[in-house]
Amino acid sequence: MHGQSFLQLRIGFGFLLCSFSLIAIYPASAEILPPGFCPRAVGVHALVSGKVIVKPGEILDGATVVIRDGYIEAVGKNITTPADARVWDAKGLTIYAGFIESYLPLGQTNLPISTSFSEPIKTSALTAGGVNFLGVPGQRTDPGQSGAGNQVSKIVPETRAVRGYSPDKKVIEPLRELGFTTAVIAPTRGIVRGTSALVALAELDPNEVILKPDVFQHIAFETHEEDENAYPGSLMGTIAVVRQSFFDAQHYSLDQADWQKKPQGRKRPEFDPSLEALQFATEGKQRVLFEPGSALMVDRAAHVARELKLDFAIVSCGQEWRRPDLAKETGAMFIVPVNFPNLPKLPSEEDWEQVTLDNLRAWDWAAENPALLRQQKLDVALTTYSLEDKKLFRKNVKAAVERGLSEEDALAALTTIPAKLCGVEKQLGTIEPGKIANLTIVDGKGYFDPESRVREVWVDGRNYHAQTAKEEAKKDETADKEKEAKAEANKEKKDVELKKLQNKRLARSPMEGRGAITNSNLIMIENTTVWTCGTNGVLRVPELWLKEGKVLYCDTTIRLGWISSNTFRFRGDGLHITPGLIDAHSHAAILGAVNEPTLPSTAMVRVGDVVNSETKNISEELAGGLTTANLLHGSANPIGGQNQIIKLREGASPEGMKFEDAPQGIKFALGENVKQSNWGEKFTTRFPQSRMGVPTFYKNRFTAALQYLNAWSDFKKNGGVPPRRDLELETIAEIIKGKRFIHCHSYRQDEILAFLRVMESFGVRVATLQHVLEGYKIADEIAKHGAGASCFSDWWAYKFEVYDAIPFAGSLMRERGVLVSFNSDSSDLARRMNTEAAKAVKYGSTSEEEALKFVTINAAKQLGLDKRVGSLEPGKDADFVVWSGNPLDSRSVVLQTWIDGKKYFDRDEAVKRAATLKQEREDLIAKAKKLAKLGGGGGDDGGGGNDGSFFRISLEHQFDGIERHCMEGEAH
């Protein structure tokens, strides 16, 4: 036993070191308290004749558990009760290993972080003022905290929950009444939040109750602002900050080591308690617990964790049912809350109009989420986290069990899994000799019958008897027994009906009805008109062949001999086929805010971290023939975030939507937005505030990036400590090296020229000028520089810098040799890029063939994708659209949209799908109404839970039906 203890000592270092030394120095038997104190109990107990659940699935009926000095000495059926033991009769009771609450944030807020209520587009998130800049010596950007610390105020890994912890009876007693004996006390503030502590739920000396002081490092993808000016102000910014923090910690450790070795003749490194505190997690020695806040961010958390080589687990948002595939892929342990939405009590029947299908799905799926995660073969721990009324815990666990979580799994989720998760499986989680004597004892039918009381718990070998529940009011003896019985029978009948209704899920998976419709490797379309957008122009094609996701033949030759039984064929008489349309400027599938507006340069943030594969925008744009979109950061700052080009493979994961090997890019912006002209009176202090300052700013950052490159090449030559990896400068350096495309939002001719010249001075060619409203005034200069122009077709006059915008711009620039595309910058326009292109015909008489190129091959060229997409030529991706007529005629409709040789949109299918969804919504409303009548429907009794939980809008669908563009909440 002792040898084993030593082993344990190395594994669970903090905690065992403590208990072991106590045993060594103060043998329990010799512990005599000074006079005046109540003497210590002997501490030996025998619980006899109970039903002992040794571990999930292993049950001993009529067994005995012997406790000595706070640990379990013996357990079994034929145990002799030790002579010194106090004997407890456990007949009729079920004895479980003490439950572990694996996530207990003790703080001002106990609400889930993100997938929550509609988060309005924050004006404050657009509002950073002050001469903000990270990493400027002598300037702490975040005045939010005093003393040494990270420059980002939400990075506080040095916070230790253990430091502030004092047992509070008001908190821990209700938890014990739910059967919990230990809990992971988690820090609550910030993004990188600090470490949690595993504590015994006992009102004792804090030193005594700490089982393990630093269990996890906590990271939450938190976007609620504390200080509206502070970076980060967006979800993508949050992820960028996490990434940078870990790189900083890696560098910090190298730099400090170097300094320890030779403290002379080198610059002294700064002290940073936050980076110091991150060391364990950085080296994979401390598990990192991510709270991603939404189903999609679960996937992102896992990617970030793997990228940073972290040992990680995940706090579920309760909505993994949206994408169980992504949860499965993480392979992580999940801590799962059981806060289920409550049916609202609506003032009027008509108000059901306001209830969305997604609201209803979230409500109907909720209780099934834990079971669903188990079905993905994931380890699940259950938590009371985010339950406002923790008393609902058992009822909701029961609901989860009724929805398919086995009782065995549910028990494991409270015992063995959290023990494993916290790395204390040798001390907690089962009733086995040598383990800590934490027990949860329930009468009646056991824990998973919410009617059965948790009678007592044992914590560290001490008994905590539950407060006797208030005796039920004695029934009036004189009451009409018959009536009572009838009422009882009625209630029972109602309950049965209610349960039956509750337990049958009507909501479908959001995955249903999405994704490729066809599955054929060889496709042939007969007798059709093809706008190749290549050298062949518009062709009458007798046979358009597509094979393995690529264009095989697109010419006038007849190859009928090729047809085999597995060729998917259809006739294209009277139809027109074009390449899939390409939108060079989109924000339509970005999760959370489009802008990280707090700093003037946010080159470190990546749209690729927040691709929203779930938004309804994707299916709507597919229905308009769009197949590729350049997802760009907004235009709130001169140097915005990194872009992400996607293909609209609806139903794919965020990673699966990314355009493979597309050139990386970045959003830049000039003009009114970056100088905060229309942000309100408060915003007058961030640099730049004028068009004079914008080029100054670029010159500064590009020079800094050059120096950064030099620092690295010096290091490569001379060795030593590598320079700090700076994700902002690294990104700008990639531009200088020609490895990253600039997509620059630009308006006025003067600012465009100034910008081109600064870039030229660094040897950089600008890939695209976005919007480029006055580009027509300097078309020659743009052509000479070689930048593409990605314009609006005809937007103008919404702000002063577009007063000179003209719809002829595209045609005029094209005539003068500029590579022109039309973009949407709008999730609405992205549905009809073909008619946008038609405006080039109307204004400036661009030919139809050339006009269509504005939304196909020209956009592809601008994005560096023309080898893959943009025209229908052999070898290129089989991304194409089938139109009912001429694509430039607004009276034509898209019949089919294909990507990689697979059909993703079919007009007839779309109609059917809508009908299915409509039926689902009606069925769910019927269920909800019936449940409300019966008095059930979610976590709460009786419906009528107007806590708003029902109306939560998930992050994934926050912007559905809302047009998305560059400056949300502002002018464009």
Binding site: D351, K839, S890, A910
Partner: protein
């Protein structure tokens, strides 16, 4: 050659100028427009038809009309349409959205029936000629606001002053229907917890709003009645402005999007005997039968609004006008935002792609809005007796690729030049940069 060149450069703008001056000072000349496909809208389309315009009015339409002494204008292979009528827009009231000093679209207060939009139109707004260049001859600037926001007029896109531009004052009183949406955000999540209200309280509040509106109209009727009986009457401008509404002389344009709002608004209008027009009308297609039953015309503003619900289908709003029309509702397309009123025909065109007939679509931008504005005796179709307000194009007006070639308002030709064409000409002719 030299002479020709000088003529081209100098005489053109001069002529355009002289034209504009002369036309407001004297009668328009008599014109015979020949050779075009005449889309009469109200009747059959006449290929290679003729339209005689005399004294600013259409004097005759047909395959061949006698135009004794008229100047013939050949519009061979072109199409002739009546001027487009753009209702429900802020054109004329705003120059640049982001520049506050140029924005006159909204007043303060919930009950301001005596706010009149046509008084605040800037005749020299650069946005007006842009709309006109695509065939829009008339527009309705709407006073935006809360509840009873004021009255709109119909203006021609021609004239030196607002008084010359006004085709009809006070075509409608505007009511922006109070929101019925419940805010289900729980208190602790609310941005302003002090202002948070329970669903029950919100329900009370929205009912109270409706009661207030009822009350306002009842008071207006009471005022009208009292005014008739009393000789020495204390005039109240706001109540005075309500008189034509009370007397049923002008309709009430109710701006409402959400289906619950629309239902309540209809029942309110029916109860109060108000002549209702539904504007904006996002969810109108969901209550098409109800609208048809009460013969309430719709000014639809949401062809290009993304659907709120996936189950409505990706094309819900593309189809909406067709659904409404099929049910028997008269649908006009909204002029929309000031800078892009020119695109009004393409909202109609999109609806054609999704089920609306091309005829109805064309009516939705000509005759129906003219009827809704109460000016169908003068505008909206090419008929004898109506204003000589028409334009010629090189293709179907519903097709983006078509261009307006010439245009007449009240029988006189108007310029199609605008800020866009001027800048285009200027920079097209910029010498090649070395």
């Amino acid at each position: 050659m030299i002479y020709d060149l000088r003529f081209t450069i100098w005489a053109r703008p001069f002529l355009a100028f002289a034209f504009a001056v002369s036309c407001t000072m004297c009668f328009a000349e008599t014109l015979l427009l020949t050779g075009a496909t005449v889309h009469t809208v109200s009747g059959a389309t006449i290929t290679n038809g003729q339209v005689l315009v005399r004294d600013g009015k259409i004097a005759a339409v047909g395959k061949s009309v006698s135009g004794g002494g008229a100047r013939e204008i050949s519009l061979k292979s072109q199409h002739l349409y009546p001027g487009l009528v753009a209702l429900n827009t802020d054109l004329g009231l705003v120059e640049i959205d982001a520049v506050r000093s140029t924005v006159d679209v909204r007043e303060v207060g919930e009950y301001t029936p005596d706010v009149f939009s046509w008084l605040a139109v800037n005749p020299d707004s650069e946005l007006l000629p842009v709309a006109r260049a695509n065939g829009v001859s008339h527009f309705e600037p709407v006073p935006f606001g809360a509840v009873v926001s004021g009255q709109s007029g119909l203006l021609a896109l021609d004239g030196w002053t607002t008084e010359q531009m006004v085709a009809k004052k006070s075509i409608a009183l505007h009511v922006f229907w109070p929101s019925v949406n419940l805010d289900a955000m729980p208190k602790e999540k609310s941005r302003n917890p002090a202002k948070w209200k329970s669903l029950e309280d919100q329900d009370k509040e929205r009912k109270e709003k409706l009661r207030q509106l009822d009350d306002f109209f009842a008071e207006a009727r009471a005022y009208a009645k009292a005014r008739e009986g009393e000789k020495s009457f204390q005039i109240v401008p706001a109540w005075e402005a309500m008189l034509p509404v009370v007397h049923g002389e002008i309709p009430v344009t109710i701006h409402a999007d959400e289906v619950r709002q629309i239902r309540v608004a209809i029942s309110w209008a029916v109860t109060n005997g108000v002549k209702m027009i539904l504007a904006d009308a996002l969810d109108a297609w969901r209550v098409a039968d109800l609208l048809a039953k009460y013969k309430i015309p719709v000014i639809f503003n949401h062809v290009f609004t993304q659907p709120l619900r996936g189950e409505d289908g990706y094309d819900a709003h593309f189809r909406a006008a067709g659904v409404l029309t099929k049910a028997g509702v008269k649908v006009a397309f909204s002029g929309g935002g000031a800078s892009l009123v020119k695109n009004m025909p393409y909202a109609a065109a999109q609806s054609v792609a999704f089920g609306l007939s091309a005829d109805e679509a064309l009516k939705g931008i000509t005759l129906y809005p003219a009827q809704i504005a109460g000016v169908a005796d003068r505008l909206g179709s090419i008929e004898s007796g109506k204003d000589g307000t028409l334009f010629a194009t090189d293709g179907d007006i519903l097709d983006i690729r078509s261009n307006v070639k010439r245009m007449w308002i009240g029988g006189k030709e108007v310029s199609l030049e605008n800020r866009h064409t001027r800048l285009y000409e200027k920079y097209k002719n910029r010498p090649k940069s070395p």
